[in-house]
């Protein structure tokens, strides 16, 4: 154990270089900075936005329209111009993002129930998502006005029924059923909520697997490049301990890197997603449907993630033996990346259950598919699928460790190289 500890700490010391720490901190700082900027921009967009209004009507209804816009947190700037065209040109030179032109006779036309066109001019000064919000809110407001006016009209003309009954003769109540649980609510809203709450899990998993794999491949490659591997292999410590120490240290540093990365990434993403607690209605439906992770679920999910990382480390150890130097180690991360990206995208965009048998088998044969699918399976109470995934990964890890141990116990650790059809021999 003392010798193993000696080796483990050396590996951690080697991996946690100043360069790595500085680059991780810089990355975290960068994400935090962008997140803060985005949050400020979002807050700015949510604050009173300026709208230019060219009111040619000046009727009671147009005044009502402007008051309505003000209650929606818009700051109204009245435009004085000779013509609508002149108002549009004036807006071009100014800093307004939206110009609303209320035509002459607007109030009177509406009163007669003759549609009148209200023109909106959006000045696209950038293509940010937040920048496009202003016109979307105004559009929504105009639709609301339309609803109020048409409702008033219908009430006056058909007093024996409600405007809602005329406009929407078919009503619907939406229910969501998950196994034995049922709740009333919008399926798309619940899916969106759950996705927003769990979007980080695959990203975290992907980052940990990639970081750890890269660490272990690089650690072995660096031993070869720096010509330290031969010496290490002759010290009195079992070869399996050498493999285990490298895997464990790489896993530890990989996990640490991923956590640091994710703290920054979360800060960055929160700038876009905002506070999900602002959705209490959906949150209640989610609670009722049991779409929250309890302690048992977290343990199962943790086991799935843990075995996925172990599988990645064992595979990376074997790949690391093929590397001749640090540069070739970088290219050897590619197979790991492919094996992670396939289940990552499949879990995001497709349903494995509905796939053809060969494709399904292929996906399930990739060990990393199981943690990606584990979250969905836990929500859907498919605990057998999660347990199968964990057992499969445990078996896969066992086989990989055996192969890695065999390689390290034989000449192959020194002679194996990724040279298609050729074998380098040292005499």
């Amino acid at each position: 154990m003392k010798k193993f500890r000696n080796l483990f700490f050396k590996e951690v010391k080697e991996l946690l270089s100043k360069q790595l720490i500085v680059s991780l901190l810089l990355m975290m700082g960068m994400f935090y900075f962008i997140g803060q900027m985005t949050r400020k921009e979002a807050a700015r967009a949510a604050a009173a936005q300026k709208i230019s209004v060219f009111d040619l009507d000046k009727s009671a209804l147009s005044a009502q329209l402007l008051t309505g816009l003000q209650t929606m947190n818009f700051k109204i700037e009245a435009v004085t111009a000779a013509t609508a065209q002149a108002a549009v040109e004036a807006g071009r030179a100014g800093d307004t993002n939206l110009l609303v032109v209320i035509p002459e006779g607007f109030g009177e036309s509406v009163r007669r129930m003759e549609p009148k066109v209200v023109e909106t001019y959006s000045y696209l000064r950038n293509f940010s998502i937040i920048g496009a919000r202003t016109s979307a809110i105004v559009k929504g407001f105009l639709e609301a006005i339309n609803k109020v006016l048409s409702d008033d009209f219908l009430k006056a003309r058909v007093p024996e029924t409600t405007p809602e009954a005329i406009k929407s003769p078919i009503k619907s109540r939406d229910f969501i059923i998950i196994k034995s649980r049922m709740a009333e609510g919008s399926a798309s809203a619940v899916t969106g909520f759950v996705t927003s709450q769990t979007v980080f899990i695959p990203v975290i998993l992907m980052m940990i697997i990639l970081y750890s794999s890269q660490m272990v491949i690089s650690a072995i490659a660096m031993e070869k490049q720096n010509k330290t591997l031969e010496t290490l292999l002759t010290v009195p410590i079992p070869r399996t301990s050498i493999v285990a120490a490298k895997m464990l240290a790489s896993g530890f540093v990989g996990l640490l890197s991923a956590v640091i990365y994710m703290v920054g990434f979360r800060s960055y993403m929160s700038g876009f997603t905002g506070d999900m607690a602002q959705m209490p209605g959906v949150s209640q439906v989610v609670q009722k449907l049991g779409l929250t992770l309890n302690a048992n679920a977290l343990v199962i999910l943790g086991a799935s993630l843990f075995f996925a990382i172990l599988c990645a480390l064992a595979m990376a150890t074997i790949l690391g033996v093929l590397a001749e130097d640090f540069r070739s180690a970088q290219s050897l991360v590619m197979p790991m990346l492919i094996l992670i990206m396939i289940p990552y995208f499949v879990s995001m965009f497709a349903d494995v259950k509905t796939m053809s048998l060969p494709v399904k088998l292929f996906i399930l044969a990739i060990p990393f598919s199981h943690p990606f699918l584990a979250m969905q399976n836990i929500y859907l109470e498919n605990y057998r699928a999660v347990a199968f995934g964990v057992l499969y990964m445990a078996a896969f890890f066992g086989v990989m460790v055996y192969v890695a141990g065999r390689i390290f116990s034989t000449d192959k650790v020194l002679t194996m190289k990724l040279r298609w059809g050729k074998k380098k021999i040292v005499l």
């Binding site: 050396k10 010509k227 330290t228 031969e230 010496t231 009195p236 020194l414 021999i425 005499l427």
Partner: protein, 240 residues
């Protein structure tokens, strides 16, 4: 002086290529035994097998009665290997590297400290041991590694081209160190291209070519046998 290392009928093949074709030799306690030969003769392969890095295709290797195949761990406890192109961990300080290596052999911290102290004396790097290995010159790394190889006073030190890449002064120092340790009872199995070095260091020499030992004996004995002024001429004569 008893036999420390015994190699009998050693063979090693890489697929169809036979690198070592039945080599036999032995090394006595406190003896410096040298393998000399051209590139590709099988010197490094032989040393790597004895160092437990490669598995022999056939033959036996025993160290102090321990069979290499049966108990490689016992072997590793009693040997120390210095490869020709060895390096040290660049991110570790020289002293930390020595501590790291010493901890594999020492049972207690005091013993490890003793190993490190001995390595420091051998390497002679002084305060530079507090610097990272990445800042060392090639000669400094080689001295550090020699200190590492000899600090545990192994029963057998396997040194592949011990003065490889060193300048004249450093080479002389390294040779003196090896000679001194052999006098203290450490057996040395070494290989070198440098015939002068071999003549200076070795008690016995084996001439090796194409995976076979052509002849062996003391440097003087071989020179007398082949009536040659130096080992280079001995080697040329043995090849004919």
């Amino acid at each position: 002086m008893g036999v420390i290392l015994k190699v009998e009928g050693l063979k090693k093949s890489y697929g169809a290529v036979e690198a070592v074709k039945g080599i036999s030799f032995s090394v006595d306690e406190g003896e410096i035994f040298a393998l000399i030969g051209p590139n590709g003769a099988g010197k490094t392969t032989t040393l790597r097998i004895v160092a437990t890095l490669l598995t022999a295709t056939a033959g036996t290797v025993t160290l102090m009665g321990h069979d290499l195949r049966k108990s490689p761990d016992k072997f590793r406890e009693n040997i120390s290997y210095l490869p020709e192109e060895a390096g040290a961990y660049r991110n570790l300080k020289g002293r930390d590297y020595l501590k790291f290596m010493a901890n594999f052999y020492a049972e207690k911290p005091d013993e490890a400290a003793g190993f490190v102290k001995r390595a420091e004396d051998i390497a002679g790097l002084g305060e530079r041991l507090g610097s990272k290995v990445g800042t060392y010159s090639k000669g400094m790394v080689r001295k550090l590694l020699l200190g590492r190889a000899l600090m545990t006073r192994p029963s057998l030190a396997i040194l592949d081209e011990p003065t490889s890449g060193l300048d004249v002064i450093n080479s002389l120092e390294v040779r003196e160190i090896i000679k001194r340790f052999a006098k203290e009872g450490i057996s040395v199995l070494l290989s070198s291209h440098n015939m002068l070095e071999i003549e200076f260091l070795s008690d016995r020499v084996a001439l090796i070519d194409k995976g076979r030992i052509l002849d062996s004996g003391t440097a003087q004995g071989l020179k007398d046998k082949y009536q040659a002024p130096n080992l280079e001429n001995v080697f040329r004569s043995a090849l004919r």
